[in-house]
């Protein structure tokens, strides 16, 4: 084994890590906010908004993320409205296009995950909140969202891990994140195995950290479902 090559490859790839993390972080935050909006539209009771949300979710879950990304990156520039709008300086950036398409896509999945969480909230707990005079945003913030988030967390951590891996697609729209840099390295060295192995290890470590963090969060938020602490036993 050529450890010198492996370590120099690792160093090169790690230099692209901030870009991978930026793609991931931006798309998760943006996608999460968009998902909240979609869930609100989907469950709010207005037939037009709910229909729009349903169609959105169908389109973005039903078509390949790679094609969505190509459409955003290569497609948007064909429209004069966009090409000559104030948005163009941003939308011509590969990074912005990648984040946009990742966020748009994850929003569809996340909205459905959150909706499942909301459906799992017991109507009795909602009724109890109404009976003390809670309604609207207060009820959502204090009772509905905290319970729904707990129900949604396991599925949501899977979605987050999927997103971390999906950032690799950004290499195909010329964003120099870990996978993109790996491919460039291979085209120079022809050492596919070693380089992709190093890249895979980076993703594995990242996802290990994410899953540990999500597991910790889940543990912290599910105290009410665990066995009775010794101190409380009579």
């Amino acid at each position: 084994m050529d450890f010198a090559f492996l370590s120099s490859t690792m160093v090169t790839l790690l230099a692209a890590l901030p870009m991978t993390l930026a793609l991931f972080g931006c798309s998760i935050v943006l996608g999460g906010l968009l998902a909240l909006l979609l869930v609100w539209m989907r469950t709010g009771g207005n037939p037009i908004l709910s229909g729009f949300a349903k169609a959105y979710i169908f389109v973005f879950r039903g078509s390949p993320l790679l094609i969505q990304m190509f459409l955003v990156f290569y497609g948007l520039g064909q429209f004069g409205v966009i090409r000559y709008s104030f948005l163009w300086p941003m939308l011509r950036e590969p990074f912005v296009c990648a984040v946009l398409s990742l966020a748009l896509c994850t929003a569809g999945y996340t909205a459905e995950i959150f909706r499942g969480g909301i459906r799992a909230v017991s109507p009795k707990e909602i009724e109890a909140a109404r009976s003390i005079g809670m309604s609207g945003f207060l009820l959502v913030r204090r009772i509905l969202a905290p319970i729904a988030f707990r129900h949604a967390l396991p599925a949501y951590s899977t979605e987050i891990v999927l997103m971390m891996k999906s950032t690799a697609l950004a290499s195909l729209v010329t964003v120099w994140e870990v996978t993109g840099v790996a491919q460039r390295l291979i085209s120079h060295t022809y050492r596919t195995m070693e380089v992709f192995l190093c890249a895979a290890i980076i993703y594995l470590v990242l996802n290990f950290v994410i899953l540990q963090a999500m597991g910790l969060l889940e543990y912290h938020l599910s105290r009410h479902r665990r066995a009775i602490p010794q101190a409380l036993k009579a």
């Binding site: 017991s122 707990e125 009724e127 109890a128 009976s131 003390i132 005079g133 809670m134 319970i147 009579a234």
Partner: protein, 256 residues
């Protein structure tokens, strides 16, 4: 000085589809009244209670809580509250205790009790905690304040739910079959708490199947049948042979 009724209900009607569950119910509760609502299942007593705090919206009728009328708008044969803000306010003045407790599962017992005072009544956290601890002491579960609902027995959960309702300092307490979901050996601890509240002068409206409570604790017994008040009176009148034939037949099932 004329006494203001804590609760006054006039001619409440409620239908689900074509089925008329409440066919014109009127009821007054003065300060300190403890009214037991009895009736077979399906007689409309729970629906009646839920109409009072607007968890169900009555099709017709008037409701006053502590002298304030709930404003309704009627349109196309349907009615709904005029102001959601008033609904929230009215609900905060009516303490509801549910058959299946309905505690918030992700909060500790103490958090359940302080939630309303802090976020609905906007009271300072330290005061809310002090009062909540006193209430939990009163219902006998102060040692469970940091436990979660799932860690408590049914009787303890129901006592916590009573403390949660009391923390709002309600004008009237509504109990919707508070002991029906409990194992028989746990019923007594909840009834003891309710009896203590009655003796303190809390105005209470209790839907129940506990004949001993109706007879010994309440000062008025209301018997509902087919969406109407069949008969009502003091416990002595009702249980002393003064009730309607239907009521005598009803209590016959309980072996009284």
């Amino acid at each position: 000085m004329a006494r203001v009724n804590r609760l006054s209900v006039r001619n409440i009607r409620k239908s689900f589809g074509t089925h008329e569950v409440l066919r014109g119910i009127s009821l007054d509760a003065e300060d300190g009244d403890v009214i037991s609502l009895l009736g077979a299942s399906g007689s409309g007593k729970s629906t009646f209670l839920r109409c009072i705090n607007l968890l169900e919206i009555a099709n017709d009728g008037e409701i006053w809580v502590d002298g304030e009328q709930i404003r309704m708008v009627h349109r196309n044969g349907r009615s709904k509250p005029e102001s959601h803000r008033q609904v929230d306010h009215i609900r905060s003045e009516l303490g509801m205790v549910f058959q299946s407790f309905n505690l918030w599962s992700h909060m500790t017992i103490l958090q359940n009790v302080i939630e309303g005072p802090i976020h609905v009544l906007r009271r300072p956290r330290s005061e809310a905690i002090a009062e909540a601890e006193a209430l939990l002491e009163k219902v006998g579960i102060a040692d469970k304040r940091h436990a979660y609902p799932a860690h408590l027995s049914g009787g303890q959960q129901q006592r916590a739910a009573i403390a949660r309702a009391l923390a709002m300092k309600p004008k009237v307490m509504l109990f919707d079959e508070p002991t029906s979901a409990l194992d028989p050996e746990l019923v007594g601890e909840v009834l003891r708490v309710m009896r203590a509240l009655a003796e303190e002068g809390t105005t209470m409206l209790v839907v129940t199947h506990e004949m001993s409570f109706a007879r010994n604790v309440s000062n008025r017994v209301v018997f509902m049948r087919d969406g109407l008040i069949d008969s009502s009176g003091t416990p002595d009148e009702m249980f002393g042979g003064g009730g309607s034939p239907a009521f005598r037949q009803f209590i016959g099932h309980f072996g009284s």
